[in-house]
Symmetry: C2
Subunit: 339 residues, 2 copies
Amino acid sequence: MSDTMSRITLARRPKGAPVQDDFKQVTESLPAPSEGQVLIAVSHLSLDPYMRGRMDDVKSYAPSVDLGGTMTGQGVGRVLTSKADGFAEGDIVTGMTGWASHACLPGSDLRKLDPSLPPSTALGVLGMPGLTGWVGLHTFGKPKKGETLVVGAATGPVGSMVGQLAKSLGLRTVAIAGGAEKCRLATETFGFDAAIDHRAHDDAQSLRAAITEAAPDGVDIYWENVAGMLLEAVMPLMNVHGRIPVCGMIAWYGGANIEDSNQLPGMWRSILVKRLQVSGFIIFDHWDQYPAFLGDVGPKVAAGEITYLEDVAEGLESAPAAFISLLKGGNVGKQIVKL
Amino acid sequence: MSDTMSRITLARRPKGAPVQDDFKQVTESLPAPSEGQVLIAVSHLSLDPYMRGRMDDVKSYAPSVDLGGTMTGQGVGRVLTSKADGFAEGDIVTGMTGWASHACLPGSDLRKLDPSLPPSTALGVLGMPGLTGWVGLHTFGKPKKGETLVVGAATGPVGSMVGQLAKSLGLRTVAIAGGAEKCRLATETFGFDAAIDHRAHDDAQSLRAAITEAAPDGVDIYWENVAGMLLEAVMPLMNVHGRIPVCGMIAWYGGANIEDSNQLPGMWRSILVKRLQVSGFIIFDHWDQYPAFLGDVGPKVAAGEITYLEDVAEGLESAPAAFISLLKGGNVGKQIVKL
């Protein structure tokens, strides 16, 4: 057992899109767990768009990462040493390890995993992204058979969960994704009824025309992962009494593309005239639904009825580049770092 | 009994704010009711901001007024001749009479009024505006004791209903109104805890500072009647899990003030980060709640527990000028035309 660990820290706050020099890898001695704690060797680390927000020094729903602090993140790992009740050496657990090779965490902040499923599923299809799609669709999307759903970033772990659940409930599902390969995966792997490559469209009008063709009865649920040009394209297509769960807005992260959309009055008018329900939600408010989610979706994943895709980057040192690529849509499925 | 009637028609579609020449008064012979119809002599006519939308030739939640057609509107009147079951000469009724001295309507489209209340209350505090405030606050505002409500156009019939109901439920209520006299009425007549004169503020920042002082714990419910600068001022003050019932946006009607607010990305971010629920709603979807509303609010109006204010214009010919003034905030309470 090595007596050092590595972690990736925030070296400086990015201006716009993060670059490699915004991160710094440091090596230090392995900590010893104190009473109630568990020392974990991290095997898989999750990379998610929300982490971009943590790099800024602005008030948000969760604290920023401090300069020099470890980048926030969920990991899966094996227990090396346990001083916490209920955990023993060799257990596979998940928790907020951060971008690090090892973590010392209180037992109360960890959850043991079902060893019959691949451990990385705890970070994606059966983890926070899967729960986000499941809770958000049911609670805020309120899907009804025969309706039409549009979702951006459709092959990602949230979008693909939303699309598969909606399809199984009898909705028409329209994927928006970047590039032909993702569009192929959207229809072939995730069963979307139609997929539109947003990169093939230069403006909201052109994208809107493509969505109109794919959603001839209008849009009842627009799952918002993206905002920007896609929001502008979809809003006029919303049906009366439509729902818009607002889960993310990756097109606008870091102040990007802000000039795209001087659309507020038209947007507000649509909300009124079409009696839309726009619901911001953040999964941290809904962890109490995790057991219900796992009870519903866990067996479906085990049976292959719910499919997932992972992009795996190798080694902790690859995390910054994989994250930078993720924010540009370079990944296809759930981005994992394998240590 | 006169054998002629007058009505006010849409002479041309306004560009921006309506002007007198957009309307034309015509006189014609009094119609005779056919089987199932009732002929009414209109005594009171309602003027409401939503009528501005009906003057445009754009797809909305209700059909436009045709050029040369009678301006849409609710009226109260006395039955002159009835060929409909359940109605007799002398009954006081309400229905969509339009801007007219008389109307011939099917009995099924009319409602008899409780003669113990002033007939004009059927157009305001106990009519569509009152129902709008009552349904919207309960269904979409979801008020909780100790929370803070902000409402624009606060002395109007919707805003004053929302404010009084919220106050009676134990909320802190903050009125936004135009001018010192309306602010005085907001606190003295309608019991708002604080009132802010938006005319005393040149920009959203200044208005926001005043609201911050009046709402030191932030804003849980923003009742949207106004949009424009007020929306821009309030949005950053919303608390987590706040609700925004979108009832109107008078600042933007007719394409006005659109340049005020290039604020969409910031707005969308607030909806996400604060988990806001933004709900467009239109009262025509909720008429089924009218009996429940009348059962709750009718006795409170009779007992003086719910107060209302009316601005009365005299004569059908005064309707266009009163409506033009209403859109500029020239009225204080519910705008009625007395024939």
